[in-house]
């Protein structure tokens, strides 16, 4: 009888202590990782920041605008050849570290594949190509060497900016992106085409969750 009471005492003590300490372990829940493969066209807005969907939307809009507007037809009719374009600086004037290269590459690819525009290597790429030619001149078989001075000069330079306007209060953020691209005639400095895409997002964060 005494022994059973002793065990009861233990049980009560342990139970009470467990009650106290139980609360303290409430937060100890683990996390799990789940990976799902999705189509690259699926919109995945996770943080509200610039993402692949934005990049793709900008590229699609710009390609459509670049091909639809008359600058291309005018040039082809006047010169009887495709315009040659070089990509200049696309300045990031936004609040995010955006890799502008992704939509510029998309744009180059679509325009090149449309067989209506020829792109030439930009400033950074040219250095690498010229170094390769120099090395060919020293080390490659003579009949396969590529001679210098035969580069194609561009007719137009495509340059632009990506800017944001950000407003935030009480956990709600309004982010407005504006991507502007323009085609500048390298001979006359005339701006022959403007492409623009605007994206607006509202990101709401809850202050408290369970």
């Amino acid at each position: 009888m005494e022994r059973s009471m002793g065990l009861q005492g233990y049980g009560g003590a342990v139970g009470a202590a467990a009650l106290c300490l139980g609360f303290l372990t409430l937060a100890g829940c683990g996390s799990e990782t789940k990976v799902t493969r999705v189509d690259t066209g699926v919109v995945t807005d996770l943080s509200g920041r610039w993402n692949d969907t934005d990049s793709r939307m900008v590229a699609e809009t710009m390609v459509k605008e670049a091909l639809d507007y008359p600058w291309l037809g005018n040039f082809t009719a006047a010169k009887s050849r495709q315009p040659v374009v070089v990509v200049g600086a696309v300045l990031n004037n936004s609040h995010e570290h955006i890799n502008t290269q992704t939509f510029v590459t998309d744009l180059q690819r679509e325009l090149t594949n449309s067989q209506k525009v020829t792109f030439v290597a930009n400033k950074g790429e040219r250095e690498e190509v010229r170094n390769e030619r120099k090395e060919q001149a020293m080390y490659a078989r003579e009949d396969t060497q590529k001679a210098p001075g035969k580069e194609i000069g561009a007719d137009f330079m495509m340059k632009g900016t990506i800017a944001t306007i950000l407003d935030e209060a009480e956990g709600t953020k309004a982010m407005f992106y504006q991507v502007d691209l323009q085609m500048v005639d390298l001979e006359s400095n005339a701006k022959v085409w403007f492409g623009q895409k605007k994206i607006k997002k509202v990101i709401e964060k809850k202050r408290t969750v369970f």
Binding site: G6, C20, F23, N93, E168, R207
Partner: protein, 495 residues
């Protein structure tokens, strides 16, 4: 022992076996309390990092922080990123530093949403159970260090992204904090963004930033322990003149009489050297324990205990937990206390020795007092921390009492006394042992930040200082400057 034990009051006869069980149980209780008292090596990695910084071994300082990653735990991921971001910045690994700081920045944003269960757990233990999100000035410093990292990498457009983020963060803070005397703007952060804008040719935005910096230094000089730098006055004169803002220029000219300055045109063919010096160590925090007795014998116990021991050591905290747990009539409240670690350097001098002409001496001036910011941040939060700590202590006490009475009743008349004693020891002892202030802060920051700007003719320079960061000698650097170029020289001086 009876002197400390107010309950149970009835001594019960027992057999040897039961006595052994009691002894074992009480010994186990002591072990539990010792474990709950937080015996550990908290903060030792900062000592190691400081020793490395003292000898300008920045890689060593970074390694000390990296080795302690597990000590930070899940709740201090932001702090780990901040500390590593700073040591990597000093070690010259700017890309990796930005990676760590970006993670902290993202985490801070995520922590805007508070979790009820986490808050509850913290209420029943202590504030260290809450995820650390940093004080507002620390959050701004994340973007400041990132901006400097990008500038050091020569990625000026990316550093301007950080400048815009600083502007946005401070705008949101100003909207949220209504008290004009509180930390709601940052003079140094604004000043740095101005320097970055001007270095990339955006004089208009530079002027806006300089003006905000000037206004902030003016507004906060009552507590920030930093007045507006003379260089900032020159910058305001130069940019208002360059932008043909005649009325603003006239007002600044009247206010800054005798301040030397050059026109933008005069500086067009020069190169700019910006010296930033991190001096001293950021303040650390200690526990300040308030032991509140609620009976006369508890008062005696507290007075004797406080006269004999300092509760700020893990061993003494464990002893306190046992003593107060046995007594059951002491409520402990822990509040954070700031311990400054001030610099002894009032001005840094960097010498630029060019191929031609006399050496140029560049003297820095204080632009940020981190200790003052930490002091202000803590004083603004302390009333809230204190109210929460008292409420938490009262709740813990009530729960311990309930657990003791419940266990006594469950154990019955015969064993209720010692079972009650055991549960009281554990519950009250745990309430005391688990009480600990949140002492986390970004401790790899300096006590003060100094800055100097100097425009010099393009050319090759041998630069001499006392603690240049990055790889190579901490006392000398070689610079090749082109017209219109801006170069940052960063120093770390622990003294």
């Amino acid at each position: 022992m009876n002197c400390f034990v107010s309950r149970p009051t009835v001594q019960a006869p027992a057999r040897w076996g039961v006595c052994l069980s009691r002894s074992l149980a009480i010994s186990l209780a002591f072990v539990v309390l010792l474990a709950a008292s937080g015996c550990g090596s908290a903060g030792k990695h900062y000592v190691k990092a400081d020793i490395s910084l003292l000898t300008h071994n920045y890689q060593g300082a970074d390694a000390a922080i990296k080795q302690a990653e597990d000590e930070y735990g899940d709740k201090s991921r932001v702090l780990y990123g901040m500390d590593r971001g700073m040591t990597l910045h000093l070690a010259g690994d700017y890309k990796q530093s930005n990676l760590m700081l970006e993670q902290s920045d993202d985490e801070v944003e995520r922590l805007y949403t508070r979790k009820v269960r986490t808050e509850t757990a913290a209420f029943l233990s202590n504030d260290n159970a809450l995820p650390y999100e940093g004080d507002p000035y620390e959050q701004v410093m994340i973007n400041v260090v990132k901006a400097l990292n990008y500038a050091m990498l020569g990625l000026w457009q990316e550093s301007l992204v950080e400048a815009r983020r600083i502007d946005h963060r401070l705008n949101v803070l100003s909207d949220r904090v209504k008290d004009k005397s509180a930390y709601r703007e940052d003079g140094f952060a604004r000043y740095l963004t101005g320097i970055l804008y001007e270095s990339t040719g955006d004089v208009n935005n530079a002027f806006i930033a300089y003006r905000k910096a000037y206004e902030t230094y003016e507004t906060m000089k009552g507590w920030s322990r930093v007045g507006e730098p003379t260089q900032l006055q020159s910058d305001l004169l130069r940019t208002t003149d360059g932008l043909h803002l005649t009325s603003e220029f006239a007002a600044y000219e009247r206010a800054f009489q005798g301040v030397p300055w050059q026109t933008i045109q005069a500086q067009q063919n020069l190169a700019q050297v910006v010296v930033i010096s991190y001096n001293g160590r950021a303040p650390r925090k200690e526990d300040q324990f308030l032991d509140l007795p609620i009976s006369m014998d508890a008062l005696q116990l507290v007075l004797i205990n406080r006269a004999l021991t300092n509760p700020n050591t893990p061993q003494n905290r464990a002893a306190d937990s046992v003593l107060y747990g046995l007594n059951g009539r002491v409520v402990r409240v822990a509040l954070p206390k700031l311990i400054p670690q001030p610099t002894h350097v009032s001005v840094d001098t960097v010498t630029l020795d060019g191929a031609s002409g006399a050496p140029v001496s560049v003297r820095t001036e204080p632009v940020q007092n981190v200790t003052a910011l930490a002091d202000k941040a803590l004083s603004e939060r302390l009333p809230g921390i204190a109210v929460k700590a008292v409420a938490r202590a009262a709740t813990k006490y009530a729960m311990a009492e309930a657990a003791t009475r419940g266990s006594q009743s469950a154990a019955g008349q015969k064993h209720g006394d010692w079972v009650g004693l055991l549960v009281s020891l554990i519950a009250h002892g745990y309430a005391v042992a688990s009480e600990e202030a949140d002492k986390r802060s970004w401790r790899t920051l300096p006590d003060q930040i100094h800055l100097a700007r100097r425009w010099v003719p393009p050319g090759h320079y041998d630069v001499k200082g006392v603690g240049f960061t990055g790889e190579g000698s901490s006392r000398s650097r070689s610079l090749s400057l082109a017209a219109g170029q801006t170069v940052f020289l960063i120093q770390r001086v622990v003294q």
